[in-house]
Amino acid sequence: MSLLAARAATAGYGRVPAVADVHLDVEAGRCLAVLGPNGAGKSTLLRALAGVLPLLAGSILLEGRPLAQWRRREVAKRVTLVPQSVQLTFPLPVKELVAQGRAPHLGPWRPAAAADHAAVRRALEAVGLAAKAEVSVQQLSGGERQRVILARALATEPRVLLLDEPAAALDLHHQAELAHAVRQRLQTGVAVVFVAHDLNLALALADEVLVLQRGAVVAHGNPQQVISQDLLRRVFDVEGEFLCRADGSKAVLPRLG
């Protein structure tokens, strides 16, 4: 049984669908990359999978049960969405923002225990921000903020991680750190779905890719086969070259300009 599945899922804002008729299965320890041009409905799909955007049609199943039948907190313990950004209304210390990730396990009254503090510490170390635990989030750079939001999700220790463009603001070193953190979670049986514009990140991390164009699924399958010259032309309207790495895997070099 899939951890998380979409069955003819259609979601959008108001009554206008931004993504329609999506079928997918997310298995434990597997990684799915969602690709597509701007406005294709990738973030909408992620929101729907997290259950924070109501569906217009179809269903999302968590451990075989429709998401609508779950209590919000029970969903949050199992599925965590890492948005591109969150509002930083107050100058919280990094540690406190990351500790919010434990909220689904604590409920309204239970104080954080040693296990919660340990999860927060592990999450901060995974994103390389342990040294900035006491710094105000408002003093961080864009990339550091993105890593704090990721750490908050890691602190939840969910079974499914949904990442919306997690590497968008990261330098090369921290992209590698992110890939390492994702691989570690995959090895422990966590399922990962991520939205990305970087096709090489999808080729490096994903077991499966799903390509959206104008809200519809146009390709779905093994990244080495799906990410092709034809896809670059048809979906992204660019030309590109494909390189073969030493390990036999593929890398793509889009032709810009």
């Binding site: 804002y13 108001g14 929101r47 997290a50 259950g51 924070v52 919000r72 907190r73 029970e74 969903v75 949050a76 313990k77 965590t80 969405l81 948005p83 969150v86 509002q87 930083l88 209304t89 107050f90 919280l92 406190e96 923002l97 919010q100 990730g101 909220a103 689904p104 604590l106 409920g107 309204p108 009254w109 939840t156």
Partner: protein, 324 residues
């Protein structure tokens, strides 16, 4: 640091309690006041302390606590540091409804004025939220603009009601528009507490949810907050606090803005820690403000809202500049 701040607020409150009970009109000695408070005092001192000064002091403290809590939770719920019952038009909506109720209700039904104020405050809250919301949550800028619009509409409604009010009802209706604790009586306090205590319990219960909501509605939902349910409860509870405060003490601005921010500087942003401290600090601000309001231009008493505005306006300017 936080322990010291706790002690400062508590000692401040005790000082204001002592000053308010002992001074203002006929002076009462500490021994007399103690006797009255312990139930053995009689004569003028007992009347002054139990019928005049203590109710006024407790009303100021209750209203200050209510406004500070309402401000703190609205700032988190709406992820907006400028949110405050006064600036968002919630107090204005409550005042408009209370003024109307004062004028149109028969004398026997005047006990319903607080309920009307809470209804007006809730309607203003719903209106502001409806105007400010977007597909991914409310916009902070639109919210402040919506507050300006609701405040303007409430002021206009109040003026119309006052212009049409029959003269015997005018003083009561006018009192709602001017913040003051002068109308405090033991009976008023007994009426006020049921309006304040249940909402405070609800808000403290949602303290952790509110901390998550300060990072945005979608972000809070991903961490397990039932956003719609929590928003509805917090709106109703903060409308009850603001409306209750308006019905018994009129419009008092900026307490809900200034107090939570000052408390956040010392006690941090966890609302389960912050709300009790904000309540005490709001109680201190309003009771000390009321004491000043009676003594700055003595024997003339100025509205306590003037004192809180003198403190609040510069603070608001600083917050605005920092946001820019």
């Amino acid at each position: 640091m936080t322990r010291v701040a706790d002690l400062v607020v508590l000692s401040g409150l005790l000082t204001v309690v002592a000053l308010t009970l002992l001074f203002g009109g006929p002076a009462i000695t500490p021994a007399e006041a103690a006797k009255v408070l312990l139930g053995s005092g009689t004569g003028d001192a007992a009347v002054v302390v139990l019928q005049l000064r203590l109710p006024r002091l407790l009303l100021a403290m209750a209203v200050g606590a209510a406004l500070a809590i309402a401000g703190a939770v609205l700032q988190s719920l709406l992820a907006n540091p400028l949110a405050d019952p006064f600036l968002l038009g919630i107090s204005g909506g409550g005042a408009a409804a209370a003024t109307l109720a004062f004028v149109v209700l028969p004398v026997a039904s005047l006990a319903l004025v607080p309920a009307a104020a809470i209804g007006g405050a809730a309607a203003a809250t719903a209106l502001v939220w409806w105007m400010a919301r977007g597909p991914l949550g409310p916009s902070p800028t639109r919210m402040i603009l919506a507050g300006v619009a609701v405040n303007a509409a409430a002021s206009a409604a109040i003026l119309v009601v006052l212009a049409a009010a029959p003269s015997p009802r005018l003083p009561g209706a006018l009192a709602v528009t001017m913040g003051s604790f002068a109308g405090a009586t033991p009976a008023a306090l007994a009426w006020l507490l049921p309006y304040l205590l249940p909402p405070i319990v609800v808000l403290v219960h949602h303290g952790r949810d509110l901390g998550l909501l300060a990072t945005g509605e979608e972000s809070a939902a991903t961490l397990g907050v039932e956003v719609g349910v929590v928003r509805q409860r917090v709106f109703l509870a903060s409308a009850a606090l603001s409306g209750g405060a308006v019905a018994f003490a009129g419009i008092i601005g900026f307490v809900g803005l200034v107090t939570p921010h000052l408390c956040r500087l010392v006690w941090g942003h966890d609302l389960r820690r912050l709300l009790p401290r904000a309540a005490l600090a709001g109680a201190l601000l309003c009771s000390a403000g009321d004491h000043l309001a009676r003594f700055v231009l003595a024997p003339t008493e100025i509205p306590v809202g003037v004192i809180t505005a003198v403190l609040g306006v510069p603070f608001f300017v600083v917050l605005l500049r920092r946001a820019a």
